[in-house]
C-alpha cells in the first residue's frame, strides 16, 4: 500500500511538471515574436516614418502616414456605427431575454461571431463596393463595424445582466420612466463593463486585414475621402510584407511595430479602466 502511494505521488508530481512545462512553454513563441517585431520595428520608426507616405519602388525612405490616417478614420467610422447599434441591441437582449426576437437575434450574434472575416469582406463588397462602383473607406468601415458588433453586444448584455434587479426596482418605484431607468441608472452602473467591451472590439478590428482586402482596398496616397479607397495599417503590412522589395519590408516592420503597440496599449488601458471605474455594487 505504501509503496503504491509513493508511486502514485510521484506520478502526480510528474504530471504537474508536464503541465507546468507546457503551460509556460507557450509564452516562448509569444515573447520571441514580440521581441522580433520590436527589434525590427524600432529601427524603422521615426518622425519621418510617421508623417510621410510610402516612397515609390526604388526610392528609400517614405513612411506609413497614409495607413495611420486611414486606420484612424476607418476605425472611428466603424466605432460610430457599431457602438450605438451594439449597445442598443445588448440592452434589448439583457432587458427582454425571453422574447422570440431576443432568441433569434441572440442566435444571429453567435453566428456573426463565427463568420470568418474574409466572408464579411466579400459580402460587403457586393453590398457597397459593387453598387458604388469603387472601393471605399466607408465600405471598409462597415465591414469592420459588422465585426465589432458581436463583441459590443455580448459584453453589454452580460454586464447589464449581472446588475441586480433591485436597482431597476428602486428607480421604477421613484416614478422614473423606463427609458430613463435604462439610460440613467442601468447603463451608468454597467459603464465599466460596456466600455471594456467597446475597447476590446476596437483592439480587435484595428488589426483586421481580410475584411478590408476587397472593400477599402488600399492606396499609396494619403486621403481622407471616405468614398475612395483608403490604406490601413494591417493592409499595408500585408501588401508590403509580401512584396519583393527590402525597403517595403522595412516599412512593413515599422508598421507592425506601431500596430502592435496600439493593440497592446488598448488592452492595458482597458484593464486599468475596468478596475478603476467598476461600480461597487
Amino acid at each position: 500500500m505504501e509503496a503504491r502511494i509513493g508511486f502514485r505521488n510521484t506520478k502526480s508530481v510528474i504530471f504537474k511538471g508536464i503541465i507546468v512545462f507546457f503551460a509556460f512553454l507557450i509564452t516562448l513563441p509569444l515573447i520571441i515574436i514580440l521581441l522580433y517585431i520590436i527589434k525590427q520595428g524600432v529601427m524603422n520608426v521615426n518622425w519621418h516614418f510617421l508623417t510621410h507616405v510610402p516612397a515609390p519602388v526604388g526610392e528609400t525612405g517614405g513612411g506609413i502616414a497614409n495607413a495611420l490616417v486611414g486606420s484612424f478614420i476607418m476605425v472611428l467610422m466603424a466605432a460610430i456605427i457599431a457602438i450605438p447599434v451594439g449597445m442598443a441591441a445588448g440592452i434589448y437582449l439583457s432587458e427582454n431575454p425571453k422574447t422570440k426576437l431576443a432568441y433569434y437575434s441572440g442566435l444571429c450574434v453567435d453566428i456573426l461571431q463565427g463568420v470568418p472575416s474574409i466572408v464579411v469582406g466579400i459580402v460587403v463588397y457586393f453590398w457597397i463596393v459593387k453598387p458604388l462602383g469603387t472601393f471605399s473607406a466607408i465600405s471598409g468601415s462597415i465591414a469592420l463595424a459588422i465585426m465589432m458588433l458581436p463583441i459590443v453586444i455580448r459584453s453589454t448584455e452580460q454586464t447589464l445582466r449581472l446588475l441586480p434587479a433591485s436597482l431597476k426596482e428602486a428607480a421604477l418605484s421613484l416614478g422614473v420612466p423606463y427609458h430613463r431607468v435604462i439610460l440613467k441608472v442601468i447603463v451608468p452602473c454597467g459603464f465599466a463593463g460596456i466600455l471594456s467591451g467597446i475597447m476590446l472590439s476596437i483592439a480587435r478590428i484595428i488589426g483586421e486585414t481580410a475584411p478590408l482586402l476587397f472593400t477599402a482596398f488600399g492606396s499609396p496616397f494619403l486621403s481622407t475621402k471616405i468614398t475612395q479607397p483608403m490604406e490601413s495599417l494591417p493592409h499595408l503590412i500585408y501588401t508590403y510584407a509580401t512584396s519583393p522589395y527590402d525597403d517595403w519590408h522595412n516599412l512593413a516592420w515599422g508598421a507592425s511595430f506601431i500596430l502592435l503597440m496600439f493593440v497592446l496599449i488598448l488592452n492595458i488601458v482597458t484593464k486599468v479602466i475596468t478596475r478603476k471605474w467598476k461600480v461597487q455594487l
Partner: protein, 282 residues
C-alpha cells in the same frame, strides 16, 4: 432598441442571401460535384473545391492537434493548480495577449522567421524544402488558436464544485488522480466545446495562413507532400484570387467557396456554443 435587434437578424439573413445569390451561377453549373472536384483551373474554367477542403481541414486539424496539449495544460494549470496570484495573472495575461496580436503580424513574422527555419528542418528530414506550406501555416495557426480553448477551459475547471474534489481527496486520491477522475470527466463536454471554438477560429483564419501556405491549388500526391508542401485553404484562395476573378463563373465559384466556409464555421461555432450553454445551465 428593438429595431437594432431586428437589424442584427437582417444582417445575418443578408449575409446568407448575398452569398447564396452570388454563388448561384456556380451552384447551377457545377452542382454538388463542386465539392469533390479535384481541379481548380480558372483559365480553363474548371472549378473544384476539393484541394481547398483538404487544405482547410489539414491546416485546421494539425493546428488543433498541436494546440490542444497546450490549451489543456494552461487550463489545468490556471484552473486548478494556480488559480490566483501574480504568476497566474501573468500567465493569464500572456495567453490573452496571444489572442490579441493581429493575425497579419503572425503571418509576417512567420514568413520571415519561421519559414527559413522550417526550410532547414525540411531539408533535414528529406522533404522538398519549400519552407512555406501547410505545415508552416498549421504551426502558426496552432499558436493563434491556443487561447480560445484555454480561456474556456480555465473557466470550466474553476467551476468544478469543491465538494466533488474534496470527496476524492478524502478518499486518499493524489492531485493527479483528482484531476483525472473528477475534474476531467466533469468538464469533458465543456472542454470539447472549447476545442470546437478553437477549430472554428482556425477554419476561418485568413491572413496568416494566406501568407504562409504557398497558394497552390493542386492536390498533392502523398500525405507527406500534402503536409509539407504548399497548398491553399478556402479562405486563402478567396483572399488571393478574388480581385483577379474577371468573369462570373470564376467569381461565383469563389463565392461558393465562401458559402461553404460560412456554413462550416457557423455550424461548428454554434455546436460549441450550444454545448457551453447547456453546460453552464446544469
Amino acid at each position: 432598441m428593438i429595431a437594432m435587434s431586428v437589424l442584427l437578424v437582417l444582417i445575418i439573413l443578408g449575409v446568407l442571401a448575398t452569398l447564396i445569390v452570388e454563388s448561384m451561377p456556380s451552384i447551377k453549373s457545377l452542382g454538388i460535384g463542386f465539392l469533390w472536384g479535384k481541379v481548380w483551373d480558372p483559365v480553363s474554367n474548371v472549378y473544384g473545391a476539393y484541394p481547398f477542403l483538404v487544405g482547410t481541414l489539414l491546416t485546421s486539424f494539425i493546428a488543433l492537434i498541436i494546440s490542444i496539449p497546450f490549451s489543456y495544460a494552461i487550463a489545468i494549470y490556471l484552473g486548478e493548480y494556480n488559480p490566483k496570484g501574480w504568476l497566474s495573472d501573468l500567465l493569464k495575461n500572456t495567453v490573452e495577449l496571444i489572442a490579441a496580436v493581429p493575425s497579419i503580424i503572425y503571418g509576417f513574422w512567420g514568413l520571415f522567421v519561421l519559414v527559413p527555419i522550417i526550410r532547414t528542418f525540411e531539408m533535414k528530414i528529406g522533404v522538398a524544402p519549400y519552407g512555406i506550406g501547410v505545415f508552416t501555416s498549421s504551426l502558426i495557426l496552432a499558436v493563434m488558436i491556443i487561447p480560445y480553448a484555454a480561456s474556456l477551459g480555465i473557466t470550466l475547471i474553476r467551476m468544478v464544485p469543491s465538494p466533488l474534489k474534496e470527496g476524492a481527496y478524502a478518499l486518499g486520491a493524489t492531485r493527479f488522480e483528482v484531476i483525472r477522475s473528477v475534474i476531467m470527466p466533469y468538464t469533458r463536454s465543456g472542454l470539447f466545446a472549447g476545442v470546437l471554438l478553437s477549430l472554428g477560429r482556425a477554419l476561418g483564419e485568413t491572413m496568416a495562413v494566406t501568407m504562409l501556405i504557398g497558394n497552390t491549388s493542386a492536390v498533392a500526391n502523398t500525405l507527406k507532400d500534402a503536409i509539407f508542401g504548399p497548398g491553399n485553404t478556402m479562405a486563402s484562395v478567396i483572399a488571393n484570387e478574388f480581385t483577379e476573378a474577371d468573369h462570373t463563373q470564376y467569381l461565383s465559384a469563389l463565392i461558393e467557396l465562401g458559402l461553404v466556409l460560412f456554413f462550416v464555421t457557423v455550424v461548428i461555432n454554434l455546436i460549441g456554443k450550444r454545448i457551453i450553454t447547456r453546460f453552464t445551465n446544469d
